[in-house]
Each structure stands twice: as structure tokens, then as C-alpha cells.
Symmetry: C2
Subunit: 222 residues, 2 copies
Amino acid sequence: MAQTDTVTRILDTAEVLFAERGFAETSLRNITSKAKVNLAAVNYHFGSKKALIQAVFARYLDPFTERFHAALDGLEAEYGNEVIPLEILLETMARCVLEVPAERNSLKVFMKLLGLAYSQAQGHLRRYIQEHYGSVFTRFTGLVRRATPELPDAERFWRLHFMLGTVIFTLSGLDALRDIAEKDYGEHVSVRELIRRLRPVVVSSMQAPLPATVDDVLPAAG
Amino acid sequence: MAQTDTVTRILDTAEVLFAERGFAETSLRNITSKAKVNLAAVNYHFGSKKALIQAVFARYLDPFTERFHAALDGLEAEYGNEVIPLEILLETMARCVLEVPAERNSLKVFMKLLGLAYSQAQGHLRRYIQEHYGSVFTRFTGLVRRATPELPDAERFWRLHFMLGTVIFTLSGLDALRDIAEKDYGEHVSVRELIRRLRPVVVSSMQAPLPATVDDVLPAAG
DNA sequence: TGTACATCAGTGAACGCGCGTTCACTGATGTAC
DNA sequence: TGTACATCAGTGAACGCGCGTTCACTGATGTAC
């Protein structure tokens, strides 16, 4: 069995198990026995469980950031000094997210992993992602800022995170929600179908009226 | 030390640690040493770690469902056969969520716990919550259905979960997001402040135009 | 009023178990001379 | 062409550790007679 075999089998198995149960609930023995490799192979190839978790993310995020940077380069060249419309920016991001894991048929796994990265108490993982992939998101939010000049900076920040919550929560809890939806509405829902439903909601969210000021809501000396 | 002392100290400490680190990452030894009670006291009073987790949730959800049912009773009495407007329903739910843990100053903890309940692989917990608290949500979604007759059932289902994602993701990741917001925009953000910002976004989400049909987006035999 | 017993919150120490990691080792392949 | 050595993916068994749980026990309080 060549090296790439073992390394790939570990990564393939680990990402599925992590996505299903979370990081702490998945042991190296779970992974190596399902992947049919030796227990010690994880530490031999990756060094530690933490490093394996980071490698699982890197295998998605490296190609994603490369693609996304390239797509933004293309948009900037196309629009020159003009402002890139919000819908185009969102559409571009969605397309890049969809394309990366397409060949591996595991968009669902990728989304579950993103959800876990936010919700599980893996400080090292948040730091790793921020360090390696923070710059592409900074670039993106800069473009969104130009596309939504009417929004105060703080409002835009919060709305982008509201959207992020919608997308990550929905797609990472997809299996459970899909079961309910299929039972109650007889509809089979694909990830692409969900993104079709998400689009108008996300756009409306970004264009929602500004909130009432605090003075409108609370008594003066509340 | 009276019984209530020990039980309460365990619950108070457990909810904070669970919210900070998750269930698997919080050991009974963490909880009991911080709560200054004997390790065996958890199993003595609650029976198991799983039962402790459920008890932590019950302490929030029992008063919440009681309040929420009462509030919906009030609305139904007030509106008689008329339809209760969507904004009123959402407002009522938000008020009940805010009121319950208000006296304990731990709305943040409650929200983090809800986020964990969805994201962590605690099958027993989802089953417990569904079993004990499912009916009040069924009642609520029935009223939302009457308030949004223009939405197809499946669309309403998904949008309610999009909203749930926004709220849970935002409030459960509050600390990290708040740090960023405070550093970048010099704004201190309370939970109430966030809910003020969430309101127009949630309402706009529910009122967003229907998505393009599949035929508009995909080639016929895609 | 006094004694025997029951109840029950709480304790201290130990149990077996699964965990991530380590380490000495194997065996195949490539390289130097 | 043959021999000695280096490299490196992979292995099997063991390490120490922290985990949830169990159990015999304590000691205070209440109850029956």
C-alpha cells in the first residue's frame, strides 16, 4: 500500500466520521479501523489528532481559497473601477463553495465540517483557519462593503454573520432537516435545491431596513 | 450543605462549562471540582452524565414552554378568529425567550446551549427535547402558517429553519463575534442590542420573494 | 425521655475502559562504491 | 554485479492518563414505640 493510499484513506474516513459525530466523539481507533490502516499511522503521517483535523480542513479550504481568489480577480478585472453588485458577489462565493467538493460528492460533509469548526470548542482549529484563510474573507468583505454603501459598518458585519449562520446551520444540519421535510412535504431536497431557496432570503436579509434606533425601543434611561 | 445547594451548584456550574466547551469536552471532574462538590454527587443526584445534560436543559425549557403557552393562549383569546400577525408571533416568542433566563443573567448561556443541542452529536438530547418540548413548537408553527398563507408549506418550513440558524448561530457564537465587533467598531453589543438588529432581518427573510422555480435555474434535463 | 431503627445526602476510593501517543521494530526500495 | 548502508512507510504492543460509574461507608435527621 503506497503512502498516498494510507494518507488519503485516513483523510477520507476522518472527514466523514468527524462530520457525523464531531471531533471529540471520533477516536483515532474509529478512524483507523474503518479506514483499515494501522492505529499508529495517523501519528506517523500527521503527527497528532489536532494536525489531522487541520489537514481535513486544508484539503477543502486550500482549493476553495485558490478558486475564490481567482474568481474575485476575474470580477475585479471585469468591473474595473465600478462597484461589483452584491448579488454577483454572493453568487460568486456560492459557486466557488459548490465547485470545490463537487468531484468528491461531499459538499454536505464540507458544510458539516464548517459548522463544527464554529460550534465545537476546538480553539486550535479556529486559529488555524483564521491564520491560513482569513485574508480571502477580508478581501470579500471589503468588496461587500463597496457594494452596500448604505449600511453602517457594524450593521454589515452583523448581517454577514446572520447570513453565515443561516447557511452553516441549515447545511450542517441538513440530514435531520431533510428527513423532516421529506416526511412532511414529500420533497427530496438537494443541496443545490436548498441554495436556490436560500438566495432570495439572503438577499432580502442584506437589504432589510435598518433597525429602529435604541431610543425608539427603550425608554430614555432604560 | 442542604440538598438544594448541591443540586443547584452542580446545575449552575455544569451549564456554564457545557456552554463554554461542549458536552464531551466537559468532564464530571471539571464540574464537581469547580462546583466544590463530591465527584460522586452527580451520579447520586442525576444518575448519569446524560441525565445531567437533560436536567440542565429542562431548567430553561420548562419555564420557557410554560410562559410561551400562556402567551399564545393570551394572543388567541385577544385575536379570536382573526389571524395573529407574523410580527406579533415573532415578537412574542422573542419576549418569552428573553424573559425566562433574565433573572439568572444567563441568556447567553441558554443560547449557547441551544446551539450545542443542534450541533453536537448528542442523539439522546435531541430526542429528549423533541419528546418534552416538541408540542409547543408545533403549536407555534401552526400559528405562523395562518399568518403566512402566501408561503408554500415547504418554503415556510425552510425559512423558519433559516431564521433559527441565524438566531442560534449568532447568539451561540456571541462571545467571539462580540470581541471582533468591539475591536473593529468600538461598539459594545448586548444580547438585547443584537435582537434589535435581528428583527428587521428576520421579518425580511420571511417576506422575501419566492425562489425562482427549478426550471428558471437549471436546464430542462439538468 | 430514651432507645432502636430508617432514611438519605454526601463521601472517598477504587473499578474497568478507551483514549492519544510512543517506541522498538520490520521489510521494501533506493543509493554508493 | 555484488555488498553495505540509508531511507522511510508501516506495524504491534504497550504506555500513562483521564474518563464515567460504582460501592461500601459516614453521619445527620426524623420517626416509632
